[in-house]
């Protein structure tokens, strides 16, 4: 099957970004989420994360992706905080316009009932 080249921004943590332990993981997540229009917390090995990335790219959106397994500094902390936030699984988790949307099922539901596209437009992730 023909694969599109990856077209999303992958965020790699810089050495000076943070100490080894985040004091408030949830606040950290919120900060990361509000930095960009569409933020996805993912893991490079997770296939459902791959599906969700494909969904946004297919719609013409350019999401900011944080691969938690590639973040040796704060990856684990963020993952734990996401499990607390979401309940069962940690990834994928989507934020649009700084607000939590949810996991794959919420994203699919909102796309089908037509609320996802207006949300993306409002956040400035989609034009026309």
């Amino acid at each position: 099957m023909h694969y599109q080249t990856e077209s999303w921004n992958s965020h790699k943590p810089t050495k000076s970004s943070s100490s080894s332990v985040i004091t408030d993981p949830l606040a950290h997540i919120e900060r990361l989420a509000s930095d960009n229009a569409v933020v996805i917390f993912s893991m490079s090995t997770c296939c459902m994360c791959h599906a969700i990335k494909r969904l946004f790219c297919g719609m013409g959106v350019n999401p900011t992706v944080y691969e938690l397994d590639e973040d040796p500094i704060s990856g684990k902390e963020i993952e734990k905080a996401l499990i607390l936030l979401m309940g069962v699984s940690s990834v994928p988790v989507v934020f649009i316009g700084g607000k939590l949307v949810g996991a794959m099922d919420t994203v699919l539901a909102s796309h089908i009932n037509g609320t996802l596209v207006p949300l993306l437009k409002q956040a400035g992730a989609l034009w026309l």
Partner: protein
């Protein structure tokens, strides 16, 4: 008359034999204890053999076993003798020799002890026998399901289907799902008929809504059943193993493809406004995007699994970390099946929102009939003889 609940032929014959023996016993007991109350033979015939045994048991306190009925009859006779003996002994006792009386009493005691022992053994035998019967019943139900499935799939010789169908390795969660699916299909046919009848009459929207909601809820029940079954075996769900090969040809991750559903149903609908047409087009587009995303996720899963398999060290044990992580990847299939069903449910609900109640009812009927025809074609194909050159 003797009527038996038919489970299958063998039980029926056995049941007759058991009941025939019990009837002989009843007549014997009748002679011995004419005052004993028990249910008449005609009512006994209506129950299943097992119930007959237990009823019998309740009445007479555990002296039954089909294998020892002859002994019981002998013992019953012995009891009769004992009673007669004892009765005659009583009348003669004061005048008899103490020795003879003692030996007779000993004989009686011995006989009674033997009877008690026999009764106890017979109760144990009966318990074991009933347990055996119940497990056999379950096994029979499972085998019947396997047979049904193998028949539907046309029993491919040497294929994976044949192996799974004939091995007897049917997961109990899957067996339960197949049984429930059978019921679901029957219920679905009834609902289709309801829709057909209702659409022929000028019924109020309010009542139509109830029926539409009911049909939608029925689909949700199916998705719930599939969710439970996918925990038992996600591969079974993905490949739609309970369906005929023709149906499997159209499968997308374990079920119908939502965008295709819309294509099937739309030509059957009339009087759609421009607004509705636009919304349906949007819905179909969104479905396609969601389907593509999930399909690509599945493709990624295949790729990572393939990589994982090639890097599995030769001679890696079943529980090595490599094998464990590969198994975990396989487990993620379950989430894809669930998301696919979630997409189907959302699409159905959205369609019923866009359409008027009457249109929604017509759409659901068209959808239901389409699948009935597809399944019928599948069964026909599976049953028809193959041409060999």
């Amino acid at each position: 008359m003797w009527e038996f609940c038919q489970t299958d032929g063998s039980l029926d014959l056995f049941g007759w034999l058991v009941t025939a023996r019990i009837s002989i016993f009843i007549e014997v007991i009748d002679m011995i204890t004419p005052t004993t109350q028990f249910t008449s033979t005609s009512t006994m015939g209506v129950y299943e053999p097992i119930h007959q045994i237990s009823m019998w048991d309740d009445t007479f306190g555990g002296t039954i076993s089909p294998n020892t009925d002859v002994c019981i009859i002998t013992q019953a006779d012995a009891k009769l003798d004992d009673k007669c003996e004892y009765a005659s002994d009583r009348s003669l006792e004061p005048a008899e020799d103490n020795q003879t009386a003692k030996s007779i009493r000993d004989k009686v005691q011995r006989r009674l002890a033997q009877n008690r022992e026999a009764a106890r053994k017979s109760r144990l035998r009966k318990k074991a026998y009933v347990q055996q019967l119940e497990t056999s019943r379950l096994k029979l139900a499972q085998l019947e399901l396997e047979l049904e499935r193998a028949r539907h799939q046309g029993l491919l010789i040497g294929g994976a289907t044949a192996n799974m169908g004939l091995c007897g390795n049917v997961n109990s969660g899957i067996a339960a799902f197949e049984m429930e699916y059978g019921h679901w299909m029957e219920e679905q046919q009834r609902k289709n008929s309801d829709l057909r009848n209702v659409l022929q009459s000028p019924i109020a929207d309010v009542e139509l809504r109830l029926l539409v909601e009911d049909v939608l809820e029925h689909y949700c029940n199916l998705f719930r059943m599939k969710r439970d079954a996918s925990r038992a075996d996600a591969f079974y769900l993905v490949f739609g193993m309970w369906r005929t090969p023709v149906e499997q040809f159209f499968l997308w991750i374990g079920g119908f493809q939502p965008s295709e559903l819309i294509s099937v149903v739309m030509p059957q609908l009339e009087n759609l406004t421009d607004q509705q047409l636009a919304e349906v087009r949007n819905l179909q587009h969104s479905c396609q995007q969601a389907e593509d995303a999930l399909s690509q996720g599945m493709e990624k899963l295949r790729q990572t699994l393939a990589q994982s398999i090639t890097t599995l060290a030769a001679g890696a044990g079943s529980y090595s970390s490599q094998v464990v992580s590969t198994m975990e990847k396989l487990e993620s299939l379950e989430s894809f099946v669930q998301q696919a069903d979630h997409l189907r449910e959302q699409t159905l609900r959205r369609m019923s929102c866009i359409l008027t109640m009457r249109q929604a009812a017509k759409g659901l009927l068209a959808f239901g009939e389409y699948f009935q025809r597809l399944r019928a074609l599948g069964s026909l194909w599976a049953a028809s003889p193959r041409k060999f050159t």
